[in-house]
Point group: C2
Chain length 322, copies 2
């Protein structure tokens, strides 16, 4: 049997009432081996409700990380479901960790609790942002590694392309390097060096893309450093919110009607985030996730782990010594 996927039973807005049902569905309908971590009493109560007591293992962890808690604080407390779950992956007892908790807290716990995968220089956070064209573009790194080298950017691009294939189902993903001009050579020192490494890698390198391309569907994967990526991610959220506020204040649309557009770009609800490049895969589900979304996150985690995202990067580690 494959290594299990650990599910943070306490994460998200609904806690065990939805996460346990999601884990049960992942196991029964998709054959994902799962383990639940969190307050054992509450979890067993929910398992009983689904007639799944004894079917899914439970690991007790007392503390619940609040959605508002900062990453560093979350990572510092050893007895939370997030930290305990990540430690299980770090110890090799599981292949992946799934949580509907806050992205920042999950990333901090994962970096602390799970080591780097052999050959991978640094982890990167991949987030699928919906495009106006109806598809999605993967933004990587959205905030895990703030000062990468050009070689790390090349690895992030490989991780992002694998994510686009395995999660978004794009067969031949295009990758764009986020910069400040579409022409070759435009950018800063980091992007100019990265631009030389990317054409040699196994994906369609589109060249440079710019800030206005992020939501335009120009490419399948937008690769950048974790500083710029995180600023952009939060700027997308703030800019969309500002535009909708101005529309609402102008009285040309009702706030309720605008809420669905706002939700698409809310940092807690956009379509799936994965921390790639560690000793196990970590998937962050929507904070508002119900059981079916948790089940889907477990499938994504299993697929990312089984799909050899890290193996693909390792087979191109030539970039490391370029």
């Amino acid at each position: 049997m494959a290594d299990p996927v650990i599910v943070d039973a306490m994460g998200g807005d609904h806690g065990p009432a939805e996460t346990v049902g999601g884990a049960v569905t992942a196991r029964r309908e998709h054959g994902v081996p799962v383990v639940l971590v969190g307050r054992a009493g509450e979890i067993r109560g929910e398992l009983a409700r689904h007639g799944a007591l004894g079917e899914i293992d439970v690991v007790h962890a007392e503390r619940i990380v609040p959605m508002s808690e900062r990453g560093a604080a979350a990572a510092a407390s050893a007895d939370s479901s997030m930290r305990v779950g990540c430690e299980l992956v770090g110890q090799g007892a599981a292949s992946a960790f799934v949580s509907a908790g806050s992205t920042g807290a999950v990333v901090s716990c994962a970096i602390r609790g799970i080591g780097r995968a052999p050959g991978v220089l640094r982890p990167a956070l991949a987030i699928a942002l919906p495009s106006v064209t109806g598809g999605a573009s993967v933004l990587i790194d959205a905030g895990a590694t703030s000062d990468p080298t050009p070689e790390m950017i090349a690895q992030f691009a490989l991780l992002g392309a694998s994510y686009a294939q395995l999660v978004l189902g794009v067969t031949d993903p295009s990758v764009g390097l986020l910069s400040i001009g579409a022409e070759p050579g435009k950018g800063n020192r980091l992007t100019r060096r990265a631009e030389e490494l990317l054409p040699g890698l196994p994906f369609r390198f589109h060249g440079n893309v710019e800030g206005h391309d992020v939501l335009a569907g120009t490419v399948d994967v937008i690769v950048t450093d974790g500083f710029t990526g995180n600023v952009v991610l939060k700027n997308v959220e703030g800019s969309v919110r500002a535009a909708l506020t101005l529309v609402a204040e102008a009285g040309i649309a009702a706030p309720e009607a605008l809420r669905e557009v706002a939700r698409r770009y809310d940092p807690e609800t956009h379509g799936g985030a994965a921390l790639l490049g560690l000793g196990g895969t970590v998937v962050v589900a929507h904070g508002s996730s119900r059981a079916p979304t948790i089940a889907r996150a477990c499938v994504v985690a299993r697929d990312l782990a089984d799909g050899g995202v890290v193996t693909r990067v390792r087979s191109h580690l030539a970039v490391e010594s370029a």
Copy 2:
């Protein structure tokens, strides 16, 4: 008499039909000494229409830089109104240059045609972005210097604070450092170093701000490197456009009603951009500017030049050797 402000007569969507009237207004109503540069015949025809022949000097330049032309291409042609105007400032014959041409082209021509001001390490582009709260925040550097040192960031902050005072009329501007977490110490190597320099400077240092603060009115000045600033500027534009497209497609508001919101964040129409830190001030007016806006840009240019933006930076050059 003070050094004149050079006005690019050929810049913008309307050319001499509006720029010449703007220059006449700047001179007659605001006492700004102006010189017009561009196709002398066309300019004199417009001056005659305003009864201002002989009142304002004209310098001939044959070429018009199209709005779509890239910065590097624009800067390479020596006979354009933009290049000739910037050279006049560079030679010390004028204090400032005003153009309603494309921002990228003006910046490239200005960097090429005007030298750095003594003591200023690198120029920075300041742009006032409208906030949802009704005011505006100055984003600096929006794309002039892509790999600044921490000391340059400190100078950009001083330039931005002076811009907020002189142009936006903020008496005691607050400055935020764009980063990836509000807590001190969050960010990349550059922001962590810059964060140490900013508290000692003569403005209210707010601390770190994040991507969602850019349009929220959190601070009067958002300081960042020119790479991040340019990505953010274009991302604001693209994200606002994406949100409005989704609103229009959802059928909850008519596209025409949304156009005014879109215009606020269009890169060619947002409220004023200035390239600061060179041997003369450069102000980029809206591409769609009519005469009153051109006149206002001339006043801003004169005020920035007279207001001692560069002098203030120079008096704090201690940051250079920090």
